[in-house]
């Protein structure tokens, strides 16, 4: 399973370094005050999105024949870490879907589909919503209830989706629906089919969910009623849609992990600066072990999560199994990223509670990386079963 030939590469490549530096430079145009404003107004960060598109960030891991940079996940995690470090999850989520969400179309879409849409996605002219989760099937995807029924050369789709990001601003949707029940002996996910189709607002009612954090990037409930999807919008084989999505799960986890680490580092930087400047009882508060040790400990933990991310990304780019690394990276990234933000708040004391100092937003946002796309509990299930050989517990 593991690498037989190349040993792990510990140094960053020139590509990785230059991407991080370029993104750091670019993010200076969008300081924390910008992100606080889009958060409080709950408006999509259009200026940033356009800038990211113009810089070629959206196509970093997309094929060059459609206008992408043709790089891998090893480079994409560098970029997403730097974006999240600059603007938090508001920034990362604004571009996240364009960066990797349509990879399943790259791998399995028809040549016409790819030629027609990928260049628009890479150039930021098109936004896509990812329509998989349903109210009664968060992590248990095969139990989803949205149905697509054959009607000549079309499909008629009915159902509900929930937690669909950017559906307020997207014109396309990747939609997973059941087209038939599994045959006896088949796995439960058999019969799920994936479509890449227009987000037709006359048939899909999009209701925004008010939520704890990341107000600038909308999350929604979708009510789909008699949506007609032409069969040419089908991605891959009928009934095998869930399998196609599985291939994208590991890189998705690595990207979310890199975003969590970026947010943790952003929070840590604010706390460290404050701990140096703030004088109480006649000295900087950072001189107290009670203040500096938690920050130093978070620095160490974030570094360890980051190494796991780089390792997983490298394995994925080499075409090797990275299931354990991607899951561990997402587990550690989310937990340590959150812990860093939480500890940073303690360092700032009362000011951390005020929106003006940004930490409360980072704290609310990084929490989401512990919930999505998969919970820590299910990662532990995965590791217990796959790596330790323990029996399935659920």
């Amino acid at each position: 399973m593991h690498a037989q030939s190349e040993p792990p590469r510990w140094d960053l490549s020139d590509d990785q370094r230059s991407i991080r530096d370029a993104v750091d430079e670019g993010m200076k145009r969008f300081p924390l005050d910008y992100w606080r404003e889009v958060d409080s107004k709950a408006t999509f960060p259009e200026e940033f999105f356009s800038f990211a598109a113009a810089q070629g960030w959206l196509g970093i891991a997309m094929p060059s024949e459609f206008g992408g940079a043709g790089l891998g996940i090893s480079e994409a995690v560098m970029m997403m870490e730097a974006i999240a470090r600059g603007g938090g999850l508001s920034a990362a989520s604004a571009v996240h879907m364009n960066v990797f969400g349509t990879n399943v179309v790259v791998k399995n879409g028809s040549p016409e589909m790819k030629k027609q849409y990928l260049p628009d996605i890479i150039a930021g002219r098109m936004r896509v919503a990812f329509g998989v989760s349903e109210p009664d099937s968060g992590l248990d995807t095969p139990s989803l209830r949205t149905r697509a029924v054959r009607q000549g050369s079309d499909w008629r789709v009915n159902g509900r989706k929930v937690w669909i990001s950017t559906a307020q601003v997207a014109s396309k949707i990747l939609l997973l629906a059941r087209t038939r029940d599994p045959e006896p002996g088949e796995p439960r996910d058999a019969g799920l089919t994936l479509f890449f189709t227009d987000l037709d607002r006359s048939k899909i009612t999009v209701k925004e969910i008010e939520k704890l954090g990341r107000a600038a990037v909308d999350s929604n409930e979708l009510f789909i009623e008699d949506l007609i999807v032409p069969d040419r919008d089908r991605v891959g084989e009928e009934g095998r849609g869930f399998r196609l999505l599985l291939d994208g799960l590991n890189p998705e986890r690595l990207l979310v992990a890199s975003e969590a680490v970026g947010i943790g580092r952003a929070a840590l930087a604010i706390a460290v600066e404050y701990a140096k400047q703030r004088h109480v009882f006649g000295r900087p508060i950072g001189q107290n072990q009670g203040v500096q040790f938690p920050l130093a400990d978070s620095f160490a933990r974030l570094e360890s999560a980051w190494l796991m991310i780089l390792r997983g990304a490298e394995l994925y780019d080499r075409g090797q199994d990275c299931g354990a690394e991607a899951n561990i990276a997402k587990l550690l990234g989310g937990e340590y990223g959150f812990q860093a933000a939480d500890r940073a708040m303690q360092a700032l004391g009362g000011y951390s509670y005020a929106k003006e100092y940004h930490l409360e937003r980072l704290w609310r946002e990084v929490k989401l990386t512990r919930l999505a796309p998969v919970s820590p509990e299910l990662i532990l299930c995965y590791l217990a079963e796959r790596k330790l050989g323990l029996p399935k517990s659920y």
Binding site: L212, G290, Q346, E356, S393
Partner: protein, 386 residues
């Protein structure tokens, strides 16, 4: 040891529980927050109508009597639904009532407490300054100078909760002398509408329907008799409130733990995944048990500290420990509560996220967990570390 509540306390607990469920269910607290108000006037008025502002005020001043223990019982019950919004009840009770009872003149108590008991006047504490939260005295820059029969106050305060709707700000200021130096501190009741006062609400993480303010005082003049306690000894009135505040907040954290436990159990009982309700999963059961154990420990430490205070016994260390432990349990439990609800925990339509944001304040205010530990370490006889 007798751990039972008295019949009177049980009756009061049940009254508070029924009142908050009937008048202020969780959904109403969420709606109030979403509405963007800076002050929950309706809640204040309901508390007035119910007579709750009179609790903790002796009968001779028009109150219903009762101790900090009585207040703690109510604070816990109300926090289960209201979470941090219960501060609209507690902050004026601590900053106004307890302070006046500890340091006010007979005349002040007779004039103000009956009106406070009826909910006719609101107090807001204006003690903390931008230069230092915990180091109140070391960072005190606001000054009060006596000019004839008036105090002239200059300076800046921060985190004054409810100041925008208060009738009186309870301001702590350095006692300026003629030669420009300061001798001690003065605690002064400053009418909120006095000329020279400027208020700016602070946009914040939690307790959003009750704003905290920055207060700017520019040559604010108030009558000399508005001082609470002797000149130069303003600290006396503050100290009385500080420990009560910690005790009451530990009761609030316990109430939030009640709410978390209740919501977590309901969700796990109803939510199905992988073919059964998720309350069947061992890892989730264990998390709920942790929360139940923290709730139990919180109940004991908060009631113990409240009982000590109500007996007039020293309780500084117990109150500090209770505030520290319970706030950390409440935030951790709410954090787990969000995990238990998954995506729904992130939705503003459920309460875990509100508990989490609100309880987070009490790990910071009125004193951080870190400074609490420093204080307790010294009490245990270890050398001062800061």
């Amino acid at each position: 040891m007798d751990f039972d509540l008295t019949d009177t306390d049980i009756a009061w607990r049940d009254t508070a529980r029924e009142w908050v469920d009937k008048r202020w269910p969780k959904s109403r607290a969420r709606e109030l927050e979403a509405s963007g108000v800076l002050f929950p006037q309706g809640l204040w008025d309901d508390l007035s109508e119910a007579g709750f502002h009179a609790i903790g005020i002796p009968e001779e001043y028009g109150g219903q009597g009762g101790t900090v223990f009585t207040q703690a019982i109510g604070a816990r019950e109300m926090s289960r639904n209201l979470a941090g919004l219960v501060a609209v009840w507690l902050a004026p009770a601590v900053g106004g009532t307890i302070t006046l009872l500890a340091a006010g003149t007979q005349q002040q108590k007779q004039a103000l407490l009956p009106r406070m008991a009826r909910g006719e006047i609101i107090f807001a504490i204006a003690v903390t300054e931008p230069g230092g939260g915990t180091d109140i005295l070391g960072s005190l820059r606001t000054t009060a100078r006596l000019d004839g029969d008036e105090w002239v106050i200059n300076g800046q305060k921060v985190w004054s909760t409810g100041a925008g709707n208060a009738d009186y700000l309870v301001v702590l200021a350095a006692n300026a002398t003629g030669d420009g130096t300061a001798e001690g501190t003065n605690l002064i009741l400053v009418p909120r509408t006095a000329p020279g006062i400027d208020l700016r609400p602070i946009s914040k993480l939690g307790v959003r329907a009750l704003a905290s303010y920055e207060v700017f005082l520019d040559n604010v003049r108030v009558p000399a008799e508005n001082i609470v306690g002797p000149r130069g000894k303003g600290w006396k009135g503050i100290v009385a409130g500080l420990n009560a505040d910690k005790v009451l907040l530990s009761a609030c954290s316990t109430g939030i733990l009640d709410g978390i436990l209740e919501d977590a159990r309901r969700y796990l009982h109803e939510r199905e995944a992988f073919g059964r309700t998720i309350e069947h999963f061992q890892a989730l059961q264990h998390k709920v048990v942790d929360i139940a154990a923290w709730r139990h420990a919180s109940e004991l430490v908060s009631y113990h500290a409240a009982w000590l205070m109500s007996q007039g016994r020293p309780a500084a260390m117990e109150a500090t420990m209770a505030k520290m432990i319970t706030s950390e349990y409440a935030v951790q439990a709410a954090d787990i509560g969000i995990q238990l609800l998954g995506g729904m925990g992130y939705s503003a339509e459920t309460d875990m996220q509100r508990y989490w944001r609100d309880a987070r304040l009490w790990r910071i205010a009125p004193i951080t967990g870190e400074m609490s530990r420093n204080f307790i370490a010294e009490r245990l006889g270890m050398p001062r570390s800061f």
